[in-house]
Assembly symmetry: C2
Homo-oligomer: 439 residues x 2
């Protein structure tokens, strides 16, 4: 029989979120009380959106679906996407870039069915021998996709061989030491960051682009949470940075700003200037790879995105992001009251909470057991995520309020019980949860 | 700077359909008359659907889009797809399989955004060292995707190194010599076939499955045109064949039966029994790969597919396929009147026409120039496609009628003119176009 791709043997356990879902199912099966309205499990775990699509944007989707039943409005394969949508994205998200350098042209915008899917395809451009660096912690698809592409080796217990993990911790302000960037390699960089919620400043991104150009690094910049940025001084795209057109690709998505997780629509910007070591155009290869193993995003989703990009749609996207940022503020407040140090949640929908000396999966299990709240264990995002928990602000308001109340009640009690059998580090008292850091 | 994936240097020219689009654009730019209603170019080229989605199925899409604006109806990521849709697909398309062997379970059905996209992802399961065989001619993504995955070598002028091309010609009834199947390799098999339109019989598929099991070959069976089969004796899925669960994956799509090319919805069946040489489960790996670099199909498209699978939706799918089969009958009749031998078009939407001794791209160019009709050159589908042209039945009825009239007028005149300067093979008279074969 056919051999298995040897890369698959390297990938450890399940992908993070299916594994969380499995543990949640097991817990629910063992605890019938979770089937009651009061006892039910609340998820602050995955980054899945929960709120209905707002009316104007939804009308775009409905009209798009209607149009397909008419002779004039019917359309089939659209390859790189509707030209009008590529133009709108270039105008709405990248026009301001023009003030700093050259603007993004619609021909450099490629419509996709989501950032994660395009990241998987982008890895085909560079193959098995590309040195790969990731922020540590980071969104799992960068690393897992690199393993599938053969660009990483075996699991060592804390990470994969051949992947450069660039620690992003409180000590360095969640921005990596750029001297660790691999030469002539690939660097995934996400800002606003998933999972830490930290946002890179303009100075930091200037330093990143400068270092990337000096070291021949190509940056795959994930800006999927850019619409959550409320601080006007923070950059929303890598292309606000001079020189980025020569060293960066940007992936982005309507999932989080427009609630399109189930609609499936994103885009990728590949600038014309981008070249490999041999001088070949990355954009030309991207067109070839996309044309070969992708067949375009749903046209209905594209009509929805067009609605999201007019004046009323943009107001709705802002309203939706504000709602989730409101959830984030509640979670931050609850954690602060418990004395748990955290970062993020002000310009991003994720809060990164520190449980010093604790194992992430154990804290995950404890919060699930004591509070019936699903979170995401930080160690699932990389070695530097150990002892952290990611709280997601995607949830109904009432659920977030209930979860916060349960956290406040449950963690206090739960922590004290846990302490007696703490297997990690020294046994720590309640006071160790109070952060010395002022995030 | 970063190195290019060396596999990319192997891929020749553009992907077939972008190349056709380019030649069409160039022709239109050079011939202003093509901008007039009478002179305009008609495409019988790509397999893009042209007819509006029928009312009941479209209502499913519209309702799906509406639902997303409600608290009760909203949904985000759906991973492998709606369970209800997986159940319906298992019941509607695979229930009959149960009569022959074990039925397909919903857990073996994975919802995708289309067959082409899943083929790209499937190649990750086997990696660069898998010996790959394709029917020759075949749909380009099998070969081009294999080149991207590193499973093929350089272009030799007629094909890629390390790919086994299994000729499917009039001489072998468009079914390959199974002794050519590579041992412990991968074989792409498409029935009803794109581009030849030929459909494998039950005896032929029995032979294929037997040979695959003897030789350790995994079959990736592409059944995207199965709903076009009108002959009740012809198998519509590989899983009608005893033993297929041990050696085959099936990819399929709503694109062609429901007009979903622009909606994006397909599925892949990976049976539980399927194992690699080392005994690992292919299905388990598929769940891991999909979970890593895919984020699920559009929920709106899934609601549309649910509508397509109830009684009224199935009636509409049959009506749509019947319409395109009506187009196919017109094209077949026109080609027969011209004495051009062809196959397909009775249980499939493609007609495969033979121009003995001629170069496919030259015939393509001639038909474009003389008739302003876009076709697909057979050589774009593999070495054995040389001297063939694929006519697609996807088009408005009036366009197909006009195209047929132009073909009859233009090809007669064009052929006679061409004859004087024929550079391929011996100069052939008009009579050589009359097939000796009775297709």
């Amino acid at each position: 029989m056919l051999q298995r791709n040897p890369c698959l043997a390297n990938i450890k356990a399940g992908y993070l979120f299916p594994e969380i879902a499995r543990r949640r199912r097991e817990f629910a099966a063992a605890h019938p009380g979770t089937a009651t309205p009061e006892g039910r499990i609340i998820s602050l775990g995955v980054g899945n959106t929960t709120e209905p699509i707002l009316p104007h944007i939804d009308r775009g989707l409905v009209e798009g679906a209607r149009r397909l039943a008419t002779v004039e409005g019917y359309s089939g394969y659209t390859d790189e996407g509707f030209l009008e949508l590529r133009e709108r994205i270039a105008a709405v998200f990248y026009q301001e870039t023009g003030r700093q350098g050259k603007p993004i042209s619609p021909a450099e915008v490629f419509i996709s069915d989501g950032a994660k899917c395009d990241i998987g395809r982008l890895q085909l451009l560079f193959g098995a021998r590309a040195p790969v660096a990731v922020q540590d912690p980071s969104y799992p698809v960068y690393v897992d996709g690199s393993v599938l592409a053969g660009a990483a080796g075996a699991w060592t217990g804390t990470g994969y061989q051949d992947i450069s993990y660039l620690p992003c911790t409180a000590d360095n302000g969640y921005f990596p030491d750029l001297s660790l960037l691999p030469k002539d390699g690939l660097c995934y960089f996400c800002s606003p960051n998933n999972p830490t919620g930290a946002v890179a400043s303009r100075d930091q991104l200037n330093a990143l682009v400068t270092a990337a150009r000096e070291r021949g690094t190509l940056i795959i910049f994930d800006a999927a949470y850019a619409e959550y940025i409320r601080d006007p001084g923070l950059p929303r795209t890598i292309f606000e940075i001079e020189g980025a057109r020569e060293c960066a690709v940007e992936v982005n998505s309507f999932s989080k700003p427009a609630g399109f997780t189930g609609v499936r629509l994103g885009w990728t910007v590949v600038p014309r200037e981008l070249r490999y070591a041999g001088g070949e155009s990355v954009k030309t290869d991207w067109e070839r790879v996309s044309g070969t193993i992708f067949n375009g995003a749903s046209n209905i989703a594209q009509w929805g995105a067009l609605a999201a990009l007019d004046e009323e749609g943009r107001r709705e996207m802002r309203e939706l992001c504000d709602f989730y940022l409101g959830n984030a503020a509640l979670i931050r407040a609850a954690l602060h009251q418990l004395g748990i140090a955290c970062v993020g949640g002000d310009n991003s929908p994720y809060i990164w909470a520190h449980f010093p000396g604790r194992d992430s999966w154990e804290v995950f299990g404890e919060i699930l057991e004591k509070c019936r709240v699903v979170t995401t264990p930080g160690s699932g995002f990389g070695p530097a995520g150990q002892s952290f928990i990611r709280f997601s602000a995607f949830g109904h308001r009432q659920d977030v309020e209930t979860a916060c109340a349960r956290l406040q009640a449950g963690l206090e009690a739960g922590w004290l019980r846990y302490r007696a059998r703490a297997p990690f580090g020294v046994a720590e008292g309640r006071s160790s949860l109070h952060s010395k850091l002022d995030y």
